[in-house]
């Protein structure tokens, strides 16, 4: 194809049409190549000759317009949806009328499951090598979280399951809900953003990321590298419950605890209030019984002392009395009266008791005392 320039003396100037045509013609020399990206903005109309879509690089969002002959596109029966990853074989092309650069697709292939799995496995190995999934990174869940972050879809059954299992076990739980996309191209980013936002909240002690079951493609955002990193770097422990038991998206590996279902996740993050109360009640009972035992012990001790105190004075008096009676008995046995009872008599003169006949003279008057009564007498004779 010939491109004509207009001559302005020294300067060669091209019309827009010739410029576009020139570049377009030059581009045709480039070879056909495969390009990978995500489908966005797919536009197809019966009256159009071509189908248009934008291919987006999932890593940095770089975009490339793509066109394909409508008949050829329909023949592939791909039924593409936004966010799907595809491979396009095509040539670079300039749409001359508008100067639009794009890829003219010859064929489109959906990136197969096998390729996805291989890519995923590779990512998993890489992140594991970094230590993101290491056991020693896992943090224990709080026993009694002050607030619980919940990242989930806005009308998901998963949301309902988590909330109902939390409130069933622990009615006063405070849940901060962050509703996000949970599938499609925006999901990974919006979940990672939600995690970061929740991480900055005060009194938020644990985060649950929940999503119900879905197809392999549906759950792909939960293996997104940025999301996996966001979970690993969360300032508070993260519990994930994504998909069914057998699904293991990479976010599960980075989470501190992986729950098999959203309900299980809910049960993991709060204690059972009824159980807690029962345990408290048991402790209270033990406390009360302990106090009662101590009280009873002291009461008995006081009571024993009381008994002894009450008895002591009487005992003392009785002991003294017994002692006194013994002494009194001895005193009585020794009394001169007792001697007189045995038949002795006491002879007295004015000078006192007579012990020797030498102190008496015949005819002297003496006084004689007997056990019973006494009498006066005169001394008839004395003997030495």
């Amino acid at each position: 194809m010939k491109v004509e320039a207009i001559d302005y003396g020294e300067r060669k100037v091209y019309t827009v049409t010739s410029f576009n045509r020139g570049v377009a013609s030059w581009l045709t020399r480039l070879p056909s190549v495969w390009v990978e990206g995500e489908v966005t903005e797919l536009r197809r109309q019966e009256r159009w000759q071509s189908v248009f879509l934008t291919l987006k690089d999932p890593v940095d969002g770089a975009c490339l317009g793509v066109s394909m002959a409508r008949g050829r596109f329909d023949g592939l029966r791909l039924d593409l949806a936004d966010g799907e990853r595809i491979h396009i074989l095509g040539r670079p092309e300039l749409f001359e009328a508008r100067g639009d650069f794009r890829l003219r697709a010859l064929t489109i292939e959906r990136v197969g499951l096998g390729q996805h799995l291989a890519a995923l496995e590779q990512r998993k190995q890489r992140l594991a090598a970094e230590g993101l999934f290491a056991e020693q990174r896992k943090r224990p869940l709080p026993r009694l979280p002050r607030r619980i972050g919940l990242v989930t879809g806005n009308d998901a059954a998963a949301k309902r399951d988590v909330i109902s299992s939390i409130t069933a076990r622990f009615p006063p739980a405070r849940i901060v809900l962050a509703e996000t996309y949970v599938q499609g191209p925006l999901a990974a980013r919006s979940i990672a953003d939600a995690l970061q936002r929740l991480g900055t909240l005060s009194e938020l002690d644990v985060i649950v990321v929940a999503r119900g079951g879905g197809s392999f493609e549906d759950l792909l955002p939960f293996s997104d590298e940025a999301l996996v990193r966001a979970i690993a770097s969360s300032p508070v422990p993260v519990v994930t419950a994504v998909g069914h038991e057998q699904d293991t998206p990479l976010c599960d590996l980075a989470a501190d605890v992986r729950a098999s279902t959203p309900s299980v996740a809910g049960r993991l993050v709060v204690p059972d209030l009824a159980e807690l109360n029962a345990a408290l009640e048991r402790i209270r009972g033990a406390l009360r019984r302990g106090a009662e035992r101590a009280l009873e012990r002291d009461r008995q001790r006081v009571s024993m002392l009381h008994d002894r105190v009450r008895r002591a004075p009487r005992l003392l008096v009785e002991r003294r009395r017994a002692q006194l009676e013994r002494t009194a008995g001895r005193l009585r046995a020794l009394s001169p009266r007792a001697t007189l009872e045995r038949g002795y008599a006491i002879v007295r003169t004015e000078d006192g008791v007579v012990r020797s006949s030498s102190s008496l003279a015949s005819g002297a008057h003496v006084d004689v005392e007997l056990a019973k009564g006494g009498f006066g007498a005169r001394v008839a004779e004395t003997r030495p």
């Binding site: 009450r310 004075p313 003294r320 001895r330 005193l331 001169p336 006491i346 006192g352 008791v353």
Partner: protein, 72 residues
């Protein structure tokens, strides 16, 4: 009699009197004297004990029955 102020003093004196009488060291006049004093002391001590007993009963009545005994 010159009443001893304290029970223990009276008791001590009574003991001494009995001991002295038992050893038989005292002459009759002294023995009689001691004996009479002893009898006095015995009476005095009995009165003291009776008085103490009465006081204890009165106090016990005033305090009332022991609750730890009346409790079931």
């Amino acid at each position: 009699m010159t009443a001893p102020l304290r029970f223990e003093e009276a008791q001590g004196e009574l003991e001494r009197i009995v001991r002295e009488l038992e050893t038989g060291g005292a002459d009759l006049d002294r023995a009689i004297e001691l004996w009479q004093r002893g009898e006095e002391l015995v009476r005095f001590l009995r009165e003291k004990l009776d008085g103490a007993e009465g006081q204890i009963e009165k106090l016990a009545d005033a305090i009332g029955p022991d609750p730890s005994h009346s409790a079931p």
